[in-house]
């Protein structure tokens, strides 16, 4: 294993490549796919971190009042206006999907592939419900006159920050739904019987990350 690099001249290109590829493991006994998923999620953390920082910057620097999200996202139920109702329901749906995802991982490692696949499909269904409610929210706001360059209530930057941040998050949820369905199909078919069920945990990492990002969006965009 370690002799491949020493068998060539350390100062030519073959030796250079050999040194960098000499099977050194930083994350011992962590499956390769899992380490790579974590590194991808780390890069995604910087993307969403930069979006939220940009949002902080425009909100802090504007001299016009910021629209009150508590009123903007209120829904009227039975004649009374309930603040942030849809957002609260979306939050609970996404947390529930994280719960079923965690249970799917447990079923996968117990080699109960039918239930693992079923729970992943339930997770995907919750995700699709979330995206559906987000589409409703977007349509409502667009009908109210919110645009990336302005809105009827205050600072023009509200619309651009809203569409950018929730749009990018919704895209992540949509891709996650597809990813979950594909892996659930393969799990159910028995593709992983010989290789083991780390794939369910790796898919779960992506899904929990989507929920994690929503925690920050909910706190900073909707509640702040």
């Amino acid at each position: 294993m370690s002799t491949t690099s020493s068998s060539t001249d350390p100062n030519d290109w073959r030796g250079f490549v050999g040194d960098w590829a000499s099977d050194k493991e930083a994350f011992r006994s962590v499956p390769w796919g899992k380490a790579m998923m974590w590194i991808f999620l780390l890069s995604d953390t910087f993307i969403f971190g930069s979006f939220l920082t940009g949002y902080m910057t425009v909100r802090t620097s504007t001299t016009v009042a910021w629209p009150n999200p508590s009123e903007v996202f209120a829904l009227t139920v039975g004649g009374t206006s309930v603040p942030l109702l849809l957002i609260a329901i979306m939050t609970f749906v996404l947390i529930s999907s994280s719960g079923t995802m965690a249970m799917a991982v447990n079923c996968g490692y117990r080699r109960d592939r039918r239930n693992a696949a079923l729970l992943m499909v339930v997770t995907a269904a919750c995700g699709a419900t979330f995206v559906g409610m987000q589409a409703f929210e977007w349509s409502k706001l667009i009908a109210d006159g919110v645009r990336p360059w302005g809105n009827p209530w205050g600072a023009a930057q509200f619309g651009s920050a809203f569409f950018m941040i929730t749009g990018f998050h919704g895209l992540h949820v949509s891709i996650g739904v597809l990813y979950l369905l594909i892996v659930a199909f393969k799990v159910n078919r028995g593709d992983y019987e010989s290789r083991g069920y780390q794939i369910v945990e790796i898919t779960g990492l992506y899904w929990h990350f989507v929920d994690l990002v929503w925690v920050f969006i909910f706190a900073f965009f909707y509640l702040w």
């Binding site: 930083a26 994350f27 011992r28 006994s29 962590v30 380490a35 974590w38 590194i39 999620l41 780390l42 953390t45 910087f46 971190g49 930069s50 920082t53 940009g54 902080m56 910057t57 425009v58 802090t60 620097s61 504007t62 001299t63 508590s70 603040p83 942030l84 609260a88 939050t91 609970f92 947390i95 529930s96 994280s98 719960g99 995802m101 965690a102 249970m103 991982v105 447990n106 490692y109 117990r110 083991g196 069920y197 780390q198 945990e201 779960g204 990492l205 929990h208 990350f209 929920d211 994690l212 925690v215 920050f216 909910f218 706190a219 909707y222 509640l223 702040w224």
Partner: protein, 108 residues
């Protein structure tokens, strides 16, 4: 449930643990919604929002994403780099404040 065991058999933890964390996340989400519902204002509002947010994020990463049972090498490689974002936040905060004051001076 020891770390050596978790590493060799994959991250297998009892479903009961997941259900408890699920319930806890529900409670924390309800509490953070209550912050808005009861119109808390000022430092109390911001403090509670941040506390509930960090608790929820911590539970998701530690339990649902199994970070609590991973090797320290992986934990540090993934959780430390995002701290660099705090530097960005600090810089942009100062910048935004400056922009705000300039706008007050010249664009009002």
């Amino acid at each position: 449930m020891s770390s050596a065991n978790a590493a060799s058999t994959g991250q297998q933890h009892p479903i009961g643990l997941y259900l408890k964390i699920w319930a806890l996340l529900f409670v924390l989400s309800t509490l953070s919604y209550m912050v808005d519902y009861f119109h808390l204002q000022g430092l109390l509002r911001w403090g509670l929002i941040i506390v509930f947010m960090l608790l929820k994020a911590g539970l998701i990463v530690a339990i649902f994403m199994h970070m609590a049972w991973e090797r320290m090498a992986l934990i540090c490689a993934i959780t430390l780099p995002p701290l660099a974002l705090l530097v960005l936040v600090g810089l942009m905060w100062a910048e935004a404040d400056h922009t705000f004051l300039s706008r007050l001076l010249f664009f009002r």
